[in-house]
């Protein structure tokens, strides 16, 4: 039996959930940003003195990372605000990159210069995720207050790709950029990358000048948009299928169709949050082979034969000695045959997407592993945590409470305390009895941000769920008629 990335990370997630090990940590190094996106959940001005004075030092972040590593943290995300605003970012990054983590970075890409790309290319993170806020300077002006951001971001993407770094793209859809969706899809497609679409925009966690509730799509518009996205990619994939059939390439049509997003019912995504880490295809040149569960490296029989009780056993089904590239073969992504080398080779086009359910929740989530009776429907506080820029450990990016203070009591104690506090968070009784909950992505964080309470329902989320249900009913009706 062979194992792919998804299977390995699922195993790690499951075991860390059971043992309450903080497998995944997300470090928000700064709230400051050089852009001023209207829908931002945190943003502060890049010169904000209060933020600068209260941000943790590089030594603090390095210490926190080390303590978390010793507790079992494997996946670390460095994010902001905009991380490259920190003059000491390279110092922090250099140390963290040698600690034994699978490192991810989030950035808006606008501050990536050839020099930055070069040192990142020397010791790269496992992936860099860049958010595009539009497909033109005009849109960047409207959404982020900075028209130069568009070309800067594109330049940043290309500089990083040319260094052979695993770049991923996403966008956050709001009123100001929804008209740019197809152009954004084309941009991602032209790089051979799937487009992560942040569809749910939550109210602010902190900060003052952004207005996410005013900027986000209404529930009806968002449901319409989600349908449009699904249809767009379905069409793209049909075109690709057709062109491959015409070219008579040697790919089993079944195999290809299994990889097409368009075959997955739209609202399955609502209850199958893609595990962030395992959804990242690589564009490294060593991943030329199509990595799928059928052609993964062969099992090493070593594992078959030995076990903890020191007795030679027959081959069993336990996970094997497997080289797991950071390039999963999840069914809902077209795995790509990219060979991005430092010599600027052009990637194959690739049209696919995934919905990022909530604005900034990045921790891997596997619903099948979560006890449905727990208030948190995700891994937050169970095997993942978020460190805010001012030193608070919270369950996820959207939350201010519960909180713990690892700089005061150590990461170990803070992690334990956070877990205890999360268990005390009350569930929303109305949500737990809701008949359309499978269309809804409400959670304690969402409810708190929307309503100020963990137990009050949110009209925005309720309407959104209802609109999605209506869409599905319409789809069924039109399918029945055919």
């Amino acid at each position: 039996m062979s194992m792919n990335w998804g299977q390995l990370s699922s195993r790690l997630v499951m075991n860390s959930l059971n043992q309450r090990i903080p497998l995944i940590g997300e470090f928000e190094l700064t709230p400051r940003c050089n852009l001023k996106c209207k829908m931002c959940y945190i943003c502060r001005d890049c010169n904000d003195k209060d933020a600068i004075s209260r941000e943790l030092s590089d030594r603090d972040w390095i210490r926190l990372a080390l303590e978390a590593r010793d507790l079992g943290m494997l996946f670390i995300l460095l994010t902001g605000g905009e991380v490259f605003l920190r003059k000491d970012f390279k110092t922090i990054y250099d140390e963290i990159s040698m600690m034994g983590f699978n490192v991810s970075l989030y950035t808006n890409g606008t501050m990536i210069t050839p020099q930055v790309a070069s040192w990142l290319g020397n010791h790269p993170p496992s992936q860099i995720e860049i958010t595009l806020y539009g497909a033109s300077p005009e849109t960047y002006h409207a959404v982020c207050g900075d028209s130069s951001g568009f070309h800067s971001a594109i330049r940043g993407i290309e500089l990083l790709i040319n260094q052979g770094i695993n770049v991923q793209l996403r966008t956050t859809i709001v009123k100001g950029n929804v008209h740019d969706f197809e152009a954004l899809a084309e941009i991602a497609g032209s790089y051979g990358l799937p487009l992560g679409i942040v569809n749910y925009v939550s109210p602010r966690r902190e900060g003052t000048f952004s207005s996410p509730e005013a900027e986000r799509l209404s529930p009806k518009d968002l449901a319409d948009f989600e349908e449009k996205v699904s249809l767009f990619y379905e069409q793209k994939q049909q075109e690709e299928l057709k062109s491959r059939q015409e070219n008579k390439t040697v790919i089993e049509l079944n195999e290809l169709q299994n990889k097409l997003v368009g075959n997955i019912p739209l609202y399955n995504n609502l209850n199958q949050l893609s595990e962030k880490i395992s959804n990242i295809p690589s564009n490294k040149n060593q991943s030329k082979e199509l990595i799928s569960k059928d052609n993964f490296p062969k099992v090493n029989p070593l594992i078959d034969n030995y076990s903890k009780d020191n007795v030679l056993k027959d081959k069993d089904n336990s996970p094997k000695d497997i080289l797991v590239k950071n390039d999963p073969s999840k069914n809902n992504l077209i795995n790509n045959n990219l060979s991005i080398e430092k010599s600027n080779k052009q990637p194959d086009k690739n049209y696919s997407y995934y919905l990022v359910e909530d604005t900034n929740h990045n921790a891997g989530m596997n619903y099948e592993f979560i006890n449905n009776k727990e208030t948190f429907p995700c891994t937050s506080g169970k095997n993942s945590f978020w460190m805010t820029w001012d030193g608070r450990m919270v369950p996820c990016s959207m939350m201010n409470k519960p909180e713990a203070f690892p700089l005061k009591i150590g990461v170990k104690n803070a992690w334990r305390k956070l877990g205890e506090e999360c268990k005390k968070v009350p569930a929303c009784k109305t949500c737990s009895k809701c008949s359309i909950s499978q269309y809804c992505n409400s959670c304690p964080a969402g409810l708190m941000n929307e309503t100020g309470s963990f137990t009050k329902i949110s009209s925005y989320l309720c309407e959104l769920a209802q609109e999605r249900k209506n869409k599905e009913n319409e789809l069924r009706l039109s399918a029945d008629r055919r």
């Binding site: 194992m3 990335w5 390995l8 195993r11 790690l12 075991n15 860390s16 059971n18 043992q19 090990i21 497998l23 079992g72 494997l74 990159s97 040698m98 600690m99 034994g100 983590f101 699978n102 290319g121 020397n122 010791h123 790269p124 993170p125 496992s126 052979g164 695993n166 690589s282 490294k284 060593q286 490296p297 090493n300 029989p301 070593l302 594992i303 034969n305 030995y306 076990s307 903890k308 020191n310 007795v311 030679l312 336990s318 996970p319 094997k320 000695d321 497997i322 080289l323 797991v324 590239k325 950071n326 390039d327």
Partner: protein, 89 residues
């Protein structure tokens, strides 16, 4: 023979995982999952190993296993990790 510098063997929630550090991510962007016995061999290989017999000895010290099987398994383990570039050349 010896494991290259720049790979860190970690135990994460009961699984043995090798993580590339710093520059090593350029050539290998991912994780290597090892079994318990694979991890034992890997640890031994972090110091210089003169021949396969030393590794066979590690297995025999820790498991009840026949020589021929242990030898075969060591050979296959080494082939795998050499192919993937984990061993210093």
């Amino acid at each position: 023979m010896k494991i290259k510098q720049g790979f860190l063997l970690r135990e994460i929630a009961g699984s043995w995982v090798v993580v590339p550090l710093g520059e090593r991510v350029v050539e290998f962007n991912g994780l290597l999952s090892l079994s318990e016995s694979g991890a034992l061999l890997w640890k031994r290989l972090e110091e210089e190993v003169m021949n396969e017999e030393e590794l066979v000895k590690v297995l025999k010290e820790n498991y009840e296993v026949e020589d021929t099987i242990a030898q075969f398994d060591v050979m296959e383990f080494l082939t795998n990790i050499k192919e993937r570039g984990f061993i210093e050349q």
